[in-house]
Amino acid sequence: MKKKILIANRGEIALRIIRAVQELGHTAVAIYETPDKDALHIRTADEAIWLGDGPRCDYLNIDKVIGVARKVGADAIHPGYGFLAENPDFAKACEDNGIIFIGPPSEVIQALGDKVTARQIMKDAGIPMVPGTDNLSAGDAGIKEAVDFANQYGYPVMLKATAGGGGRGIRRVENEQQLRAELPMARAEAKSAFNNDAVFLEKAVINPKHVEVQIIADKQGNTVHLGSRDCSIQRRNQKLVEIAPSLIKDNALVDLICETAVTAAKASRYVNAGTVEFLVDRDWNFYFMEINTRVQVEHTVTEMVTGIDIVRTQIKLALGKKLAFTQDDVKIRGFAVEMRINAEDPQNNFMPEGGKTVSVYRSPGGYGVRLDGFVYQGFTIPKVYDSLLVKMTVFGFSWNETVDRLLRCLNNFVITGPKTTIPYYVNLVQDPDFKKGDFDTSFIETHPELINYDDQACEGSKLAHLIAEIHYKGENPYAV
């Protein structure tokens, strides 16, 4: 039966979901704030409803979004990632209003969103975890607990906001003095950022690999994994490049991690698509980090190597369907890499380039390349949202083939107007360590030379710059 599905998001993920909704024969309803009035997701959806002037506050306004959903008669809401995606109150509001929330039940989001609860669940299920504390007590008692823990396990330790996520609310502490100083600051910061001042401590795992597992579960109790991903290439805890599957050569270890992820999902009564994140240290120990209760930005790489449309599956499962495949049906073939092409200037500390107009947009094509973007030539990037322009996902049968194709596709990209991360990635994919698959979360900071590129380097282009200036000024200003 044709359903109406509201997409409570914007940007590339809104488009991604709209496509799946439309492929399933349902009606896609977009919502938008004023700065997104020219955005592609509005044009692509079957209906688009204006929420308010924003910015950001309307996309985050549960009452408004639920109100719109009721008004248009939406059967279900897909939250995408970010915004309200991992807000249990939103999932709860959907449930209370008889709207299907495409994701796990609100109590699962609640439980896994609270890091301490999540750790308890995992501990009970026997999942290996980085040693850590419960939520620290308030005041001096909390400081004592923290210092005792650190003395037992050794520095450095990670001080984390219980309600944090996505790399936010984490600080590394090197010694006791710093721990005593930073704990109250971390609390205050967590309070203002997440409206929850709970913090806890974990042993720091130095330069680990970030390996995560895509899981998917139906309401009938079937849970499977879709293999691993490596998201080690991060800048300040923000992922830049994601790879499926993990390049860890020990297949048994990767299998064990994936099976552990399924156990973790089952232990938390997980339903719908989610991601179990692990850290893998240099001795090949792996530790549970967290479960993300949403579709991930990097879900595309898993789709490429498994052939399974995760968003389509999400919708079907939310509408009550059983998983159409078993664990045995899931086969990983080849390698896929996603690069987040952001409107940022890598040479200027990755400063966002929002507000600029994309004057030229030409994208690569051909075998093995997939683009999930939302910009078009003439589009002005809103200043008020994130800087992701397009995700380029490249597939190859072997790792070498994938790397070759990455370079080719990056070189085929032409985006002018905003500066982008493309020239940085051009250096990155030619880096010997990257080509060997040898990287961990320290990769970006240990490869500062990737920043060295000159996008106007070639002589032809330099002279063209002068020709452009002669044209603009009506004479050669350097000759008169």
Binding site: V360, L463, A464, H465, I467, A468, E469
Partner: protein, 636 residues
């Protein structure tokens, strides 16, 4: 008949020339570019002409020196050494010639001895014939260059600068030749440098004859300008009297103030039975055929006033300064005063200042003084720093007589005699620390400079650094033809430009649209570079309609402010040096800033004792009269 080729030493050259039945020709392409095109003829054009010029069989091609070294980096953004390298590739046989201003090298004021020697050594690797002069005909001013050229085994061509007037007798010039020979020895070519194109053909013939009477073996090279339209006459007279080399250039580009056409010289002298040795006339014609289509692109740089100027015999401006002087008059809005300046004031100043030779940098001193005398209201009311240095004898002794006392009084006040006694006469310029300069340049460039870069930097520090940065940004632009570099009014939509870059790679550029952004603050210029779309963003100049320009200050007001420590620019000029730092104590009369206008430098001194509290301007800034320079807080 034997052609002179690159690699022949001075002894062999002299031997061949003395035996030769006929005369040789120097193609003074550099002087043609300087005199008639404000030095803008591009390497691109010279490279087009190179193959046929190579075949033409000249004694030499004058292709560097004079003001060209500076203009190469300042306005053409070409490395003066790379230029010579690239031309040499296409012209292995032809001698390259330069024009060097002795102690002033290729600039406008004296350099330290070690800089002179270093610069000459580096250039001598590329330059075979060195024409060297001094505007005071003061031989010691040329000595360091003489020595380095001879040490490098290159051909030395000392010059006697020529002018007219009662003092400029054959006897005087013959004595000068002896003074030169006393220093150089016999193995030289002697140049008669007639930079103004002065005197009649008879006068020039007589001079050549007088010199040859005294030194019959002397190889004389006559250099002239066609300002009055009569240089062929002088060339012919010189050759008929025995000059062995004469200057001329390609007729496709000959104008009014530079050299006469080569072919006309050859044709005329043919009739007199004199043959041009080693010359291939077909190649000379071919050169002009190649060059002809390029001339139109240089039109903007041709003289503001067209036509020969026989009044040069009165005002004596050198051909190389005609174009730039007229340009200054046009830009300064005093073209209407030119008859007054050229026909009355300049000849008067010339006589008052000792009737020395009106050639760089002396010609600039005469010219700026004459302009200032006419424009400033009071004659010698505002003496430039360079005029003061001239009066003090810093450029060398006056050749015939000193200027009258009243001019010294105007320049230095009632105590002028004390000043003259204290500061007068030439002083040795202290050597500078070349290693330290190399480090300074490395700091500015963020990489170690080459020796050639250092040479360029030592001569023109600010302009050299700007040039090196320009190359980093825009690459080597000599590959672009004048039709591109000198395009005015922009390109047409869809116009394609094809060129080979410095590495030999061919590029194609197609012009796209030009668009302003929404608020008009930026303009995007779109281009297809090698079929890839690119765009360049230019910030639009903000129209300052609301901002009233500061009211013009009178000269008196500027002087009064200076006495209160508020130092303003007294005239239109660029800042070439800030001599003080903020917080520095200064005494009255101490130099604060050096201004440069029309290539002449003038220091601005503090009128008061005090402390420098603020430096408003910076090096390179263009100043209008009354613009703030420095604030000095007078001592209590």
């Amino acid at each position: 008949m034997e052609r002179i080729v690159q690699g022949m030493g001075i002894t062999e050259v002299l031997k061949v020339m003395r035996k030769a039945d006929g005369y040789y020709i120097t193609n003074t392409a550099r002087d043609m570019s300087q005199s008639d095109y404000k030095n803008r003829i591009l390497l691109h054009t010279d490279l087009l002409a190179a193959p046929s010029r190579e075949e033409a069989g000249y004694f030499s091609l004058e292709i560097t020196g004079g003001a060209s070294v500076h203009v190469d980096i300042l306005r053409k953004q070409v490395d003066p050494f790379l230029k010579l390298e690239l031309l040499r590739e296409k012209m292995p046989k032809t001698m390259f010639q330069t024009l060097c201003r002795g102690i002033n090298l290729f600039g406008y004021r004296p350099y330290p001895q070690n800089v002179i020697r270093f610069v000459v050594k580096e250039f001598a690797k590329y330059v075979d014939v060195w024409r060297v002069f001094d505007f005071m005909n003061h031989v010691p001013n040329m000595q360091a260059v003489f020595e380095e050229v001879q040490a490098a085994g290159k051909i030395l061509e000392p010059s006697i600068c020529f002018s007219t007037g009662p003092e400029h007798t054959n006897e005087f010039y013959v004595k000068k030749v002896q003074a030169i020979l006393d220093v150089t020895g016999q193995e030289i070519i002697l140049c008669i440098k007639n930079h103004g194109g002065l005197g009649s053909p008879k006068r020039i013939g007589d001079l050549v004859d007088a010199i040859l009477q005294k030194y019959p073996e002397m190889i004389i090279h006559y250099h002239g300008h066609n300002t009055d339209g009569n240089d062929i006459g002088r060339v012919v007279a010189a050759a008929m009297s025995g000059a062995k080399i004469v200057d001329a250039s390609d007729h496709a580009f000959t104008g009014y103030y530079g050299p006469p056409p080569i072919l006309s010289v050859i044709q005329t002298l043919n009739e007199y039975g004199r043959k041009a040795v080693g010359i291939n006339e077909a190649a000379i014609m071919e050169t002009s055929e190649v060059l002809q289509p390029e001339r139109k692109y240089y039109e903007y740089f041709e003289s503001q006033i067209k036509g020969f100027d026989p009044t040069v015999q009165i005002h004596k401006l050198p051909g190389g300064a005609m174009g730039s002087s007229l340009e200054q008059a046009a830009k300064g809005g005093f073209l209407d005063k030119m008859p007054e300046i050229l026909h009355n004031e300049l000849p008067k100043v010339q006589v008052e200042l000792g009737n020395y030779w009106s050639v760089t940098p002396g010609s600039q001193i005469l010219w700026t003084t004459a302009v200032s005398n006419v424009q400033g209201g009071e004659r010698y009311g505002n003496c430039s720093g360079d005029l003061k240095n001239l009066l003090l004898g810093k450029y060398g002794p006056f050749p015939f007589y000193s200027p009258p006392d009243w001019i010294y009084e105007k320049a230095f006040g009632p105590d002028w005699q004390t000043v003259l006694e204290r500061d007068g006469g030439m002083e040795a310029i202290e050597d500078i620390d070349l290693d330290k300069e190399r480090e300074n340049l490395a700091d500015k460039l963020c990489y170690p400079p080459t020796e050639q870069q250092l040479v360029t930097y030592l001569q023109h520090p600010n302009d050299a650094v700007n040039f090196f940065r320009f190359e980093e940004k825009f690459g080597k632009v000599y590959v672009l033809p004048p039709s591109i570099l000198f395009r005015r009014g922009g390109f047409k939509l869809g116009e394609t430009i094809v060129y080979k870059d410095h590495t030999g790679k061919e590029h194609i550029i197609e012009m796209g649209p030009t668009q302003e952004n929404e608020d008009g603050s930026e303009t995007n210029v779109y281009l297809n570079i090698d079929h890839h779309q690119r765009h360049f963003v230019f910030e639009n100049a903000v129209a300052q309609a609301g901002e009233a320009k500061a009211a013009k200050l009178s000269k008196k007001e500027i002087e009064d402010l200076a006495k209160a420590g508020d130092v303003r620019a007294p005239f239109t000029a660029n800042i070439c040096e800030i001599s003080v730092k903020e917080g520095q104590e200064v005494k009255a009369g101490e130099k604060l800033v050096v201004l440069e206008a029309m290539k002449m430098q003038t220091p601005v001194n503090s009128e008061v004792d005090g402390v420098v509290v603020r430096i408003v301007a910076k090096v390179g800034d263009a100043m209008q009269p009354g613009d703030e320079l420095v604030k000095v807080k007078p001592a209590a």
